[in-house]
Amino acid sequence: MKLWAVLCKKELDGFFYGFSAYFILAVYWALSLLAAVFFGLYFVVDNPSMRSFFAFQPQVMVVVLPAVTMRLWAEESKNGTLELLFTFPVGNAALVGSKFLAGWIMSLLMLALSLPLAVSTSAVVAVDVLNIVSAYAGAVLAAGVLTALGCVVSSVVSLPAAAYLLSVLAGWALIGFNLSPLLSSLAEKLPDAPFYLPEALNFSSRYQGFINGQFSPDSVFYFVSLTAALLFFNWVIVNEKRNGK
């Protein structure tokens, strides 16, 4: 665990060296506010659960988080420090886990920036605290999935810019994954087939549940298991690379 902390701190130090972390945080905050105000009409409709803010978090994260995750593996590859890292006596799980943790901490910092908004909203309207807590939990879990996805892409691509673009594309594909139209037409033809399964894998509807205040264990399991699956995939890629393949 100590080793994880050492490696995680190394990543965080890297983020906060120079202005990149501050720039990413500022861009995230600006995009979140713009989305909440212009698309969510934050100051027009009542927001007892900050719905206007949380509704667009996946989209904002898909654009901003890859700027964090591209650094984790692709930049190591580009700078040649991967060779140094891979010859440290560190297991693959610690390498993958510490990098993911650093990325996730960055996304938590981003979300923490919205706390003043929650406080100021509570001063204006009677907020539904439990609903807001549920929405924050959903955002934290969604950030975990998108960070893990970014880690996978970053470990495959050795150019940070390419890793960024591919992570954005993969993120859009994940949050836009919705087979409902196709399934409903199939369901008409095959009424007995178990079409509930792909729908249960829908990222957006699961996230929507959290915004609606439905803090359900199966949604938590969905996000946690998706993150774990992506991290396992990341581990496999790192293992292959480390074995010189």
Binding site: N79, T81, V90, G91, G244
Partner: protein, 246 residues
């Protein structure tokens, strides 16, 4: 300590290492000599587990990377080609990071830090960001990073490249001192390096070890008593002769 058996490595269709065999023990100082593209860096990468061989095996203290990677890497200190380092850190921070990764406690770290900084004359730049260092200091920081945990096996890829003559002398002196306690393997294409270090020489050409000898043994292969001629005979002329035979 190091045992390389029949190492073969191909990149695409090109054979970079072609059946390399050698073994080395603690207390040896070995110079891996060879022209550019001979396969020195690839061989070093295989030894420190960054690459896997297509055939053959590397064993460190009888262990292989497949089963004991972390245990082996704990014994190794490695400076890759071109000295990749985390440039956003200061020299001290980088050494701290590596010390922590290798699990050194404060006392051990302080002792080796002093030793390494003395030997490599790093005190003036300890608080400086690596990004701002000169090539010479960057190279010496790379060596320090490889040595901070007092490895039993030290592998340095062209450690004196880009250093001025005074720095080269200091680094070589330090490497000789290290070889009293550890196995030191360095790669170079500079003949003077092997000569000054008076080390065991592994001469690599076209992916094969063409000579495993001493500096005196290498000189004996020459027509005029110079290492340059021996190097030429064993690498360039041999290759031409082999091509003619084919």
């Amino acid at each position: 300590m190091i045992e390389a058996q029949g190492l073969i490595k191909n990149f695409d269709r090109r054979r970079v290492l072609d059946g390399v065999n050698f073994s080395a023990q603690s207390g040896e100082l070995i110079t891996l000599l060879g022209p550019n593209g001979a396969g020195k860096t690839t061989l070093m990468r295989l030894i420190c587990g960054y690459l896997a061989p297509d055939a053959g095996a590397v064993r460190i203290d009888g262990r292989s990377y497949e089963t004991s990677r972390t245990e082996i890497l704990r014994k190794l200190g490695y400076m890759p080609e071109n000295t990749p380092l985390y440039k956003e850190l200061t020299v001290f921070e980088h050494l701290c990071l590596v010390g922590r990764v290798f699990g050194l406690d404060k006392k051990e770290f302080s002792a080796t830090l002093e030793e390494v900084c003395d030997g490599l004359e790093l005190y003036p730049v300890l608080g400086q960001k690596i990004q701002t260092l000169s090539k010479g200091y960057t190279r010496r920081t790379g060596i320090a990073v490889a040595m901070i945990h007092r490895p039993q096996i030290l592998i340095l890829d062209e450690p004196t490249e880009g250093l001025d003559p005074n720095q080269k002398t200091a680094v070589r002196k330090y490497l000789r001192r290290c070889a009293e306690k550890a196995l030191v393997l360095i790669s170079t294409h500079l003949l003077e390096e092997a000569e000054t270090l008076d080390s065991r020489v592994l001469l690599l050409a076209d992916g094969k070890i063409c000579t495993d000898t001493t500096v005196a043994g290498l000189r004996a292969c020459s027509r005029d008593g110079t290492l340059a001629d021996a190097f030429h005979r064993l690498t360039a002329e041999k290759t031409i002769a082999e091509e003619n035979e084919r």
